[in-house]
């Protein structure tokens, strides 16, 4: 099943995004923790777009695909090209005085979902977040696709 909404790339629309997602995920086979993790990853991704919309003129498109043994969420915007996963991993070990502020959103996206990917296509940034049922943490997604 595929559901799509379009929302303005402003933070004020975040509650609407979360509400839309919560309703859809409730009917999937994902367990509660996986639903929370995926919701949080989407929040971080949407916030990233809203805070760095980079000249987007159209609304952000949020597409949720459920079915089979996975839930896939695609966020796309027509802002300037920006690959969030090109950023270096944040410093997670320095002491409190030296610890840089920021950079945790993308790190959390990576850590919370089974697969996160970026591509630039047809003038749009496309971010895809995927969670498998049952959870396949630690399993490379290519193995899953290959049915190994």
């Amino acid at each position: 099943m595929r559901s799509t909404i379009q929302v303005g790339a402003e933070l004020e629309h975040l509650p609407g995004v979360i509400g839309f997602l919560t309703g859809l995920l409730g009917s999937t086979d994902l367990d509660g923790e996986s639903r929370n993790d995926l919701t949080m990853a989407v929040e971080e991704a949407f916030t990233n777009i809203a805070q760095h919309s980079r000249g987007a003129v159209s609304p952000v498109e949020l597409r949720v695909e459920t079915g089979g043994r996975k839930v896939s969420i695609r966020l796309s915007d027509d802002g300037a090209p920006f690959d969030p996963f090109a950023a270096p991993e944040p410093d997670l070990v320095s002491g409190p005085d030296e610890r840089p502020v920021g950079g945790l959103g993308v790190h959390l996206i990576r850590a919370l979902v089974d697969h996160a990917g970026y591509e630039r296509r047809d003038g749009r940034n496309i971010l895809t977040l995927t969670m498998y049922c049952p959870r396949s943490r630690g399993r490379p997604s290519s193995h899953w696709r290959d049915g190994k």
Binding site: L14, P15, E33, M40, R99, G102
Partner: protein
Amino acid sequence: MTLEIAESERDGVLILAPRGRIDAFSAKVLEDALRKAVEGGHRHLVVNLQDTEYISSGGLRVFLVTLKGMRKDEGSLRLCCLAPGVHKIFKLAGFTTIFSIYPTEQDALVG
């Protein structure tokens, strides 16, 4: 999705208890409450996260900025009663090594 913050004081220590979700949208509420507490002269704060069901990187940022500021002023920021989901995010963010986190409010007050 609202965030309400209850305040109480014990033994001269201000205790803030956020109830709800600390996300990118509501993190400003937490930021304002912490700033007001510091500007009001409180050098030692406890934040009880028992009723905080969710925290995003926006909330983590507020805690880190506050911690840095309080350390400069030789104050302290202690956290307690993290729900499992919130503790997981603190751990993923590497925050469990830089924050003083206690299982109960009483433990946090004692330090």
